[in-house]
């Protein structure tokens, strides 16, 4: 508990059952600034659903962070102790004291113990949780929250367009989509062209925000409603050429997109496909340790009018699993600060998945959980879109 005297060197009594590191805090005089009219302190964090939350801090009202009550801020995170740390706002200064936590409390990457200031804009790390100290004008915050709500609405709209999983038939498809805090422009889908052909695609618009999401939706609608005039949708090179004509970056806010588009013949299991600016889709085959990449090399869509787009063909087999995913799946920064590449992610695919063991209903969700667990705390930098098609 933070004592009433701001220059005290006493420690918070440890109440946690974990490892305790008792280090005497240096005696320091804390300068208390005069409160600023209309400015408010918040702790900003991401909840389990990925939504951004703000906890308002009030002067001399302690806020405890832990894994269970009586903490005011509870995170069900195995790396957060029962009662982990405590915050106290004095005038315009926010102080944090570790409560003898197992894994420590960190401010801007530095471990802290007792009565340490958390600067404006400072980042508090508690287990896997990242909480940012915001000190800002209430009116400005209201405007910012309106923008956040717009982003959330854009995200919900995109999600409402995504297809239902295919749980019956010769090809069963499931997916997992987790928008980033900034909302990206991922769009993916699948549908039958006729009784013998199944189309699968995944597009990723450059950039983030509502503009990228709107562009993604326009591309998505062109594909799912088959509204590209004069195109044989069973021919991937034709589809990509027409998309390139239809969505030039000059007349679409400078945005381009990458795409993987494939048409599977359900009778022969031959798949025709083309990728533009995007990494391969991959096939995992029972009994074969190496993944089979399905890739063609074409320029991103919208960058240059009149470009040719080449397609390719592969033979799939019963038991194969086809993985389509966006770069947000593998372009992560890990907890030790390393930037991942696709080769870091590939070994995760094609591994056995058991909902009873892994707790995720689908392999796509299981892959998300694994990536999420390896990435640095906080929301992922980009949308996570993973589609898994099983040939049964």
């Amino acid at each position: 508990m933070i004592p009433p005297e701001p220059d005290s060197t006493r420690f918070a009594p440890p109440e946690d059952d974990g490892e305790r590191t008792m280090i005497r805090a240096p005696r320091s005089r804390i300068t208390v600034a005069a409160p600023r009219e209309g400015w408010v302190h918040y702790l900003v964090y991401t909840d389990e659903s990925g939504a951004v939350q703000r906890h308002r801090l009030r002067p001399n009202e302690p806020v405890r962070i832990g894994r269970r009550a009586p903490a005011e801020l509870v995170f069900k995170d195995g790396e957060v102790s029962g009662l982990h740390c405590e915050l106290m706002l004095r005038a315009d200064e926010l102080l944090v004291s570790d409560r003898g936590s197992t894994n420590g409390t960190f401010v801007d990457g530095k471990r802290v113990y007792a009565h340490e200031p958390v600067p404006h804009g400072g980042v508090l790390q508690v287990g896997k949780q990242i909480l940012k100290h915001e000190f800002r004008d209430e009116h400005e915050l209201a405007q910012s929250q309106e923008l956040d709500r717009d982003l959330a609405r854009a995200s919900h709209y995109v999600q409402s367009l995504l297809p239902q999983p295919l749980t019956r038939g010769p090809v069963q498809v499931q997916w997992h989509y987790q928008p980033s805090a900034r909302v990206g422009g991922d769009a993916f889908g699948y549908h039958h062209l006729d009784e013998h052909h199944l189309v699968l695609y995944l597009a990723d618009v450059s950039g983030h925000g509502v503009g990228a999401a709107m562009h993604g939706v326009a591309v998505f609608n062109a594909l799912r409603q088959q509204s590209l005039v004069g195109v044989d949708f069973a021919d991937p090179s034709q589809v990509l050429s027409k998309l390139n004509d239809q969505f030039p970056m000059d007349s679409h806010g400078g945005m381009f997109f990458t795409i993987w588009y494939g048409v599977l013949d359900l009778r022969t299991l031959v798949i025709d496909f083309a990728a533009a600016g995007q990494h391969p889709a991959y096939v995992s085959r029972p009994g074969q340790p190496a993944l089979l990449p399905l890739v063609t090399r074409n320029l991103v869509i919208g960058a240059m009018p009149g470009m040719p787009f080449t397609a390719s063909r592969a033979q799939l087999l019963r038991g194969d699993r086809l993985y389509l995913f966006s770069d947000g799946v593998f372009e992560i920064v890990t907890r030790d600060g390393r930037t991942w590449q696709i080769d870091d992610f590939l070994p995760m695919m094609g591994q056995p998945h058991d909902p009873a063991i892994h707790g995720a209903a689908t392999e796509a969700e299981h892959l998300y959980r694994m990536v999420r667990g390896l990435a640095r705390p906080g929301p992922l930098d980009d949308d996570f879109s993973m589609v898994v098609a099983q040939i049964v």
Partner: protein
């Protein structure tokens, strides 16, 4: 994201970028970068040797600048990309519209030729 500008033998511009060319990096450098390349009527080479990561926003900046150069009859080339950035350039097939060269010497020769 940092940026420095110098002149290549033959008078072309050389813009060296340093850091992550992602959304944040592009925000930091875009205005300066465009001003440097498009603010003068010269061919230009972009040195990617110190770029550690190239995201879609970085690709977008390069494409937009190359197209603006082309529209006024000037050339833009890229050189020096390390393995990870080179892999991204390959994947987005940028070499289909912009020369991607291994080093400064070849970039200089290409612009001189």
């Amino acid at each position: 994201m940092d940026m420095s500008v110098e002149e290549l033998a033959g008078g072309a511009l050389c813009v060296a970028l340093q850091g992550r060319l992602d959304t944040v990096g592009v925000d930091q450098v875009e205005a300066k970068f465009k001003d440097a390349v498009l603010g003068t009527d010269r061919d230009a080479a972009i040195d990617l040797g110190a770029v550690s990561f190239l995201a879609s926003m970085g690709v977008r900046l390069i494409i937009a600048t190359a197209r603006a150069q082309k529209a006024r009859g000037r050339l833009l080339v890229l050189f020096g990309a390390k393995a990870q950035v080179q892999s991204t350039l390959q994947m987005v097939a940028l070499d289909q519209i912009i020369p991607v060269l291994p080093d400064r010497e070849q970039a200089t020769a290409r612009l001189a030729g």
